[in-house]
């Protein structure tokens, strides 16, 4: 019997619950191979990573208490999570953030973005990870 390939788990970290809802709805609708879980803070992300290892983290930058830069640094400095690809998904489009973001992560995606374009970028990163 042919084994069904497991869905790829994408962890979305964003303090905007509407954004989490729309990205989850959108990505899961355009791709049956993705399951999206959302958390609304950097702390919640680190807690999640203690129990689960996603295939990709979509990470917002401007969040209260712990911003995306801090979250990224903590993930990359932990041997258990350092190999998880991080993609910044942010409305910060200034050149310095873009430059830093591209150095620190697998991709830097600017909001707003159409779902089909987001899927292409996610496919590209997850495809490279194999």
């Amino acid at each position: 019997m042919k084994k069904k390939s497991a869905k790829k788990l994408i962890l979305l970290v964003d303090d905007n619950s509407d954004l989490i809802y729309s990205v989850k709805s959108g990505l899961e609708a355009v791709s049956k191979s993705y399951e999206v879980k959302g958390v609304e803070s950097g702390r919640a992300c680190l807690e999640f990573l203690k129990k689960s290892k996603p295939d990709l983290i979509l990470l917002d930058i401007m969040m209260p208490e712990m911003d995306g830069w801090d979250v990224c640094a903590k993930i990359k400095s932990n041997k258990k999570t350092e190999s998880i690809p991080i993609v910044f998904l942010t409305a910060k489009t200034d050149p310095i953030s873009k430059g830093m973001g591209r150095l620190a992560s697998a991709d830097y995606i600017e909001k707003p973005i159409e779902i089909k374009d987001l899927k292409k970028r996610v496919d590209s990163v997850i495809g490279k990870k194999k």
């Binding site: 954004l19 489009t93 909001k111 973005i113 089909k116």
Partner: protein
């Protein structure tokens, strides 16, 4: 001692006294001038200190302005993301034409708002000096080839025929590569927008009187004299009915960029349906 010798000694003494007095006066003069120079030096140092403080304040204000604009841009872009993701999703879940039509209106307006926001922020963030990016020696022909490569897909989709007429051995210019590519992109996008499919676009470049002139010419809808007089004003649009096709900021951004480079920009058209040409000029650097 003879009287003659005494007389000579007296004369000599008087001469020496005169010289001594002269030297004394010159010395006092020198001391006075030294004091004046010291006072001037102190004044200059005070002025320099004030200028440094003012400069620091301006730098801090510019930094605060940039941070504020980044924050505003971020906060205005954030609500657009769910709209642009969910609108096509909702459309895909219904065959009801009315609902699909209404959602398209929501989607198109969100896209327009996003474009307007990007251009507005680009216009406001542009610094009056050269501080936004580094200036380097550039070859205008290379920039033209780069932008034409970038726009190749657009030309193919719109079946636009592109011609080039670039004079040989053009001098170099000093400029910011990203800004000048933006100018060329805006001019070409504008030309394509106001041309029918299958239209003709011509890019020319030549040198005259220590300036390089670059012209983007189309055979599109053309402009009236009234439009020509206002075309570089922010938010001005020749055709208000095409509100979803641009914010009216592209050409004013071009004007700002070329003027920062020490150049200028002009628009020409023979009238409606007779095409347009937008020409910008930039100072050359001598070899």
């Amino acid at each position: 001692m003879s009287p003659e010798l005494i007389r000579k000694l007296r004369e000599r003494n008087q001469e020496l006294q005169k010289l001594y007095n002269q030297l004394n006066r010159q010395n006092k003069d020198f001391i006075r001038k030294t004091i004046d120079l010291t006072e001037l030096k102190n004044e200059l140092e005070d002025k320099n200190f004030e200028l440094e403080n003012a400069n620091r304040e301006i730098t801090n204000l510019l930094k605060a302005k940039t941070e504020f604009m980044n924050r505003v841009a971020h906060d205005l872009r954030t609500p657009l993301a769910p709209i642009l993701i969910l609108a096509p999703l909702i459309k895909s879940k219904t065959n009801d034409e009315k609902i699909r039509h209404d959602i398209s209106i929501v989607e198109n307006n969100a896209k327009y708002l996003n474009q307007l926001l990007n251009e507005l922020i680009a216009l406001i963030k542009r610094e009056p000096s050269k501080s936004e990016g580094s200036y380097e020696r550039l070859d205008i022909m290379e920039l033209i080839e780069e932008i034409l490569n970038n726009e190749e897909n657009v030309f193919k989709t719109q079946k636009i025929k592109v011609a080039r007429q670039i004079a040989p051995k053009l001098h170099g210019i000093m400029g910011n590569r990203i800004s000048l590519i933006e100018v060329l992109h805006n001019l070409i996008s504008n030309a394509v927008k106001f041309m029918a499919k299958g239209g003709k676009l011509k890019i020319t470049a030549f040198e005259k009187d220590n300036f390089i002139y670059v012209s983007v010419k189309d055979n599109g809808i053309g402009m009236t004299k009234k439009t020509l007089s206002k075309i570089f004003e922010p938010f001005f649009k020749a055709d208000e009915s095409r509100h979803s096709e641009g914010s009216g900021l592209g050409l004013s951004i071009c004007k700002k960029i070329v003027e920062e480079h020490g150049g200028g920009i002009i628009a020409q058209s023979e009238g409606l349906k007779k095409g347009s040409a937008i020409t910008f000029y930039l100072p050359i650097i001598s070899k």
